[in-house]
């Protein structure tokens, strides 16, 4: 029989490392997927994954929440924010590239953005590209809700916002995805 997260945590606190291993196995995919999609370019997802778990393990003796995945995602969210702040501090757009060109000239590209390319791909790739185009906060709410099945109450806690803000972000995310994937979802409105 599958043990609940709470039971595994309790067993780990009593010294059972196997229980921790099962916990890591159980949540590795949602957490890793979140890190890949929310982490900045150049972030080593495996390194972040390990760091999030080690932070969680250090805090596990004080764990009192009901939703373990929500708690784990809060740690991941804070870590991703810390990392992006650290990376932003290291990289300034004023700093010229080695070639002598301004870095900012390379940020806005004249080429088609991933959002414009989505029409040529398979549905899976189109969705993946469309999600990438969402603003960070909306993308995070969308991923936490769809891939991790977290309730809005928990998502609001992770983002340190009210439940209404989390809901509004989800509404915007859905509206944008519908617009980007218009060929896939516009047919629905025509047929109904």
């Amino acid at each position: 029989m599958d043990q609940s997260d709470a039971e595994l945590i309790s067993r780990y606190r009593e010294g059972d490392i196997d229980a921790l291993e099962r916990l890591v196995e159980r949540h590795r995919r949602p957490l890793y997927g979140y890190i890949i999609r929310m982490g900045r370019v150049g972030t080593d997802a495996d390194e972040v994954f390990q760091e999030v778990w080690l932070r969680a393990i250090r805090k596990m003796t004080r764990y009192r929440q009901k939703n373990f995945l929500g708690w784990l995602m809060r740690i991941a969210h804070n870590h991703v924010i810390d990392e992006s702040r650290r990376k932003r501090a290291l990289l300034t757009l004023d700093e010229p590239l080695e070639s002598g060109e301004a870095r900012i000239a390379h940020v806005a590209s004249a080429d088609a953005t991933p959002c414009e390319q989505v029409v040529d791909e398979e549905l899976g790739s189109r969705i993946e590209a469309a999600v990438t185009c969402l603003p960070e906060e909306q993308k995070e709410v969308f991923l936490l809700r769809t891939k991790m099945d977290l309730p809005f109450k928990e998502i609001a806690k992770i983002q340190h916002v009210s439940i209404n803000t989390a809901l509004a972000r989800m509404q915007y995310a859905l509206a944008k995805l519908r617009d980007i994937l218009t060929d896939d979802y516009a047919a629905m409105s025509r047929t109904t």
Binding site: E14, E25, L54, I127, L174, T192
Partner: protein, 193 residues
């Protein structure tokens, strides 16, 4: 359709509506095609995302490293007692520390002052009736007690007194002849060899 209805649809999908709110939403959905369409589109987009967004997994080495580090951390804090025992010991230690600190902070006299010693002697002598074998020794004991009590009264450390009787005994004790322990006939040579 209002923003509020859209939010209710999303909350219904995440199971966060109360039964009453759920009923209210169902009524709205029956009346509004736009609300129904919104729910269908939201469900479809989320379902497609769930199905098509790839589920990448971390490298097995990453998981092995987490477990290895957890084991190392665990070794550092290993305690050979069950948690309730540890809690009880920690509680007792904290209580002892608190009591000691409290006594140290509230105590105004040294722990073993001469006055305390005098009180102790008075108490011991009062209780040790068997120690005094004969009447002479008992009389000496009474004198010693009277002297100790009067010293305590004179120094202001106690208000207990046996009145005139103790005072008379005090003066008798303070007489030079009394101080020679005249209730015993033995000479110092006989006593000390």
């Amino acid at each position: 359709m209002t923003t509020n209805t859209e939010q209710q649809v999303l909350l219904a999908m995440s199971g966060e509506l109360s039964p009453a709110q759920q009923e209210e939403l169902e009524a709205k959905l029956r009346e509004s095609n736009a609300a129904t369409l919104y729910r269908e589109q939201a469900e479809r987009i989320m379902s497609d995302a769930r199905q098509h967004l790839s589920d990448a997994a971390p490298a097995p080495e990453s998981i092995a490293n987490i477990i290895h580090q957890a084991r190392t951390m665990r070794r550092g804090i290993i305690i050979p007692f069950p948690q309730p025992v540890v809690r009880a010991i920690a509680g007792a230690a904290a209580l002892a520390l608190f009591v000691t600190s409290w006594l140290a902070l509230t105590s105004t006299t040294p722990t073993s002052s001469p006055v305390d010693d005098l009180h102790t002697i008075v108490a011991m002598v009062s209780e040790q009736d068997d120690f005094f074998q004969n009447n002479a020794e008992l009389a000496e004991r009474e004198r010693m007690l009277a002297l100790a009590r009067q010293l305590l009264i004179m120094e202001g450390f106690t208000e207990e007194t046996n009145g005139e009787e103790d005072e008379a005994l005090l003066f008798e004790v303070l007489e030079p002849t009394s101080l020679q322990l005249n209730n015993t006939s033995a000479s110092p040579q006989e006593i000390y060899g």
